[in-house]
Amino acid sequence: MAKVSVLNVAVLENPSPFHSPFRFEISFECSEALADDLEWKIIYVGSAESEEFDQILDSVLVGPVPAGRHMFVFQADAPNPSLIPETDAVGVTVVLITCTYHGQEFIRVGYYVNNEYPNPELRENPPPKPDFSQLQRNILASNPRVTRFHINWDNNTDRLEAIENHDPALGCSFPLSCTPIKGLGLPGCIPGLLPENSMDCI
């Protein structure tokens, strides 16, 4: 049983210009006081093709976390445009919010992000080199994709064992390879037809 469950993530100031910082208001519930801090990360996926272009926008420690409901705002700077492949700058990508405890990831919230030119002219005739100052970032806030992982919440004793159990999942090195948990391998489909999120039960 996870000690921490995320109740809500509100995407603040959305849509916003490409260069403005990401802001997520995260509320979560903790069933038992945690001995150590939670680590939250925002990862911006630069390109669907390769994880090489992932950027960790920021990582913060959150604590102390006593039992109860809590909330905080996680703000992170916009991604560095120079690290994004030009072909992937405009269009759909993904931003991920992950949380780890003792180095074990237990929740991953993913949002589709659409970067496009609000200016119709630019949209029709996009400049060959993406103009980031004109780009608008729109996070599809209504459709978070939440994946929860089972982790060991107690102190170290059999932590290694728990991690070993998940080794196969951690070990797959290709982003396209099968997903580690059954029922999660959602084939590509347009957001309107996304099935009800099946990950909640895990």
Binding site: M1, V6, V9, E13, P15, P17, S20, R23, S27, F28, S31, E32, I43, V45, A48, I56, D58, S59, V60, G63, P64, P66, G68, R69, M71, V73, Q75, D77, V92, V94, L96, T100, H102, G103, Q104, G110, Y112, N114, Q136, P144, R145, V146, I163, E164, D167, L170, G171, P175, L176, S177, T179, G185, L186, G188, C189, P191, G192, N197, M199, D200
Partner: protein, 935 residues
Amino acid sequence: MYLASGGDDKLIMVWKRATYIGPSTVFGSSGKLANVEQWRCVSILRSHSGDVMDVAWSPHDAWLASCSVDNTVVIWNAMKFPEILATLRGHSGLVKGLTWDPVGKYIASQADDRSLKVWRTLDWQLETSITKPFDECGGTTHVLRLSWSPDGHYLVSAHAMNNSGPTAQIIEREGWKTNMDFVGHRKAVTVVKFNPKIFKKKQKNGSSAKPSCPYCCCAVGSKDRSLSVWLTCLKRPLVVIHELFDKSIMDISWTLNGLGILVCSMDGSVAFLDFSQDELGDPLSEEEKSRIHQSTYGKSLAIMTETQLSTAVIENPEMLKYQRRQQQQQLDQKGSAARETGSATSVTGVVNGESLEDIRKNLLKKQVETRTADGRRRITPLCIAQLDTGDFSTAFFNSIPLSGSLAGTMLTSHSSPQLLPLDSSTPVPFGTSKPSTEPVAATGTRPAGDSVSKDSVNAASAPAAPSPSILTTPSKIEPMKAFDSRFTERSKATPGAPALVGLTPTAMERLKEQSLVKELRPRDVLESSSDSDEKVPVTKPSSLSKRKLELEVETVEKKKKGRPRKDSRLMPMSLSVQSPAALTAEKDAVCLSVPAAALKLPMPGPQRAFTLQVSSDPSMYIEVENEVTAVGGIKLSRLKCSREGKEWETVLTSRILTAAGSCDVVCVACEKRMLSVFSTCGRRLLPPILLPSPISTLHCTGSYVMALTATATLSVWDVHRQIVVVKEESLHSILAGSDMTVSQILLTQHGIPVMNLSDGKAYCFNPSLSAWNLVSDKQDSLAQCADFRSSLPSQDAMLCSGPLAIVQGRASTSGRQAARLFSVPHMVQQETTLAYLESQVAAALTLRSSHEYRHWLLLYVRYLVNEGFEYRLREICKDLLGPVHSSTGSQWESTVVGLRKRDLLKELLPVIGQNLRFQRLFTECQEQLDILRDK
């Protein structure tokens, strides 16, 4: 009203239905699939060292049993989680099923070690171990859920073998004989579950009323994916359903009425079967069932429960009357409550809604962000309670001031630490002086005041953002296949986490990637920090000064909020009634001077003139004009007082530094340590009092005058009776040792001085003990854990105004939400609640606040009654009653803080009468009070 769950994480969790939250959805799931019921974990039970395989509540819910792959069965005390009553050891294999004897004499367990063991609940020792039917058992099943019949006669095992066929073994209670079994399943039986009801044949019209033997009904589930239902009066199964699932049956549960059955399977599905009474028979009522138990086993071992308590004999007619009256009152209250709810709910909704909005609006600004030793950002999350209900607690753990009616006066203390580094103009490195409450980079882009910055940011981004219709075009978003895996796949590298010792070939690759990311990471960090470094020096001077301004404005505003409190009996003196200039000067002085070893409190500087409002109803002002040149070049000071239009004035020879007034007296402190006191008409009451050192703060309530001097000594006089209440008492004992400041001073109408300190503690000086008493502590963990909701007579009963309430400044929600916020074991909860209530009663007593004393005493007694603490209750009653026959040697006082003790007792009696357990105590007190009345 509990639910227990066991998991493969070795834990048993006990859940309670949370009734105050409506249906809600799980984050990330579709809105349609709302959880109708909300369950909150109230206890986590830790003892097992392996997966928990089964949990079972005993009859009457006194015990909870759990079994595990660690070969043990643990018995938990369901009245006092997480107390363990016994750990049953003896199995040499994984224990996979549990069942309680319906009369509570035994508990049986079945394990992989091919044995079924029956344990006595009397001494938790082994009664018998049955192995014969299981000798042939090979292979394993996931579970072995056995079951005891509701009449107690039979115990039916899971997976047993008879002539190499799988069976469910029937074990008779009499001598634990194993002569019968349920046969027919093709694979091992995983679950047996008896229907909780005992049935009897449906009486057909006209048939002879021959008393048929009652019988039981049992469902058997198996690895062969089929389910069979048996009646003990039939030789063959009532029904068999083959191929119900794709995989083995895992568990079976009957509905309480005995007509429905839920079956779940390994394949992840649940089946519901519905029976009619024609099929199963007529269920016996609970009384008939317990009659069967009684006739078979004598008095059942079940523990006396609340329901049984209600059948206890009432020994006294008075008691009966009280019980009746109580019931009637409850009915009346319900009726009136129902009428009032309409208006009440709408009001609270608005109030809470606003507050929640406030929290959310200011969250980014208010949240505390620090840097760890290794330079990482660390955010302290804001603790909220139930956002769903709109209910929230004032942040318990990081004292962020939330605007509440009572919290208003306390705000000053929160803002003063912030003022310190900024106003002192000592060179402090910007980065370290203040744990920046917002990202440093953002300060540069916020020229406007903090309070409007949010809006301005919104406004700034608005023109750049065209209409949302263009932007939110989901149809145009074409997610690529690649992304889907990103949503679900665990991140490969967790920098900062200890490197894993790879055991698989892929681990090497993973380590490489980790190091790659690690390389990337510091660079990111560097970049971001250099960014902020560039911005900070440019904006530093301006932002600093602006911030200073904002903060000042803020504090003044907050003080204004704090001021409207009009309590005619006492005046919280939050240093706010003076002119703003004097105020800030004084505040700074407080902050700066206190850390010194020799205590030195701020002194008001001489002013040309100032005005002071003593009270607004009746409106009363004091005007001071210093150095009014009189004839012959002599400089005099003039004191003017106007009260409801009537004015008087007088002159003093030295300059007036500070003034204070109440409805009875006006007093002024002048230079040369002189303190003068005047009546409401301006008549001098005393020759000037010489203070031991210059004045710091002066205060009046009623006829009491309090003077706090710069050397931190405190004096209180009653000028009417012309006596000293507190004589030059040093604040050294409460202020020494740390850099605390006095944030609020209060003088109660009984002349008790109370000091609120900046660390959230409040002390009052107890003249009779000549000692400082701690009456309030913001960080008091007791207050956070206490939960006496059940003892509150009504929703708004928490709101009891008085000096204690002002000092503590606690929102009315405290003491109610503990159970919502924390999963504290009941016993701990009881202890903390008792301790908290006792300290409240004592504090109210010390402050001589009779109203509050009565309030807390009532609450405390109600809690004692509800939780059944007899000794303490008896002691209270004894003290309140006093000696019935007058004896000269008695030390007993008939009043407490102006309340007659026996009247209090009369008030408490109906409360005590609510619990029948205390009927003796009730009767005793009642009789003695009657004797006293007749005398």
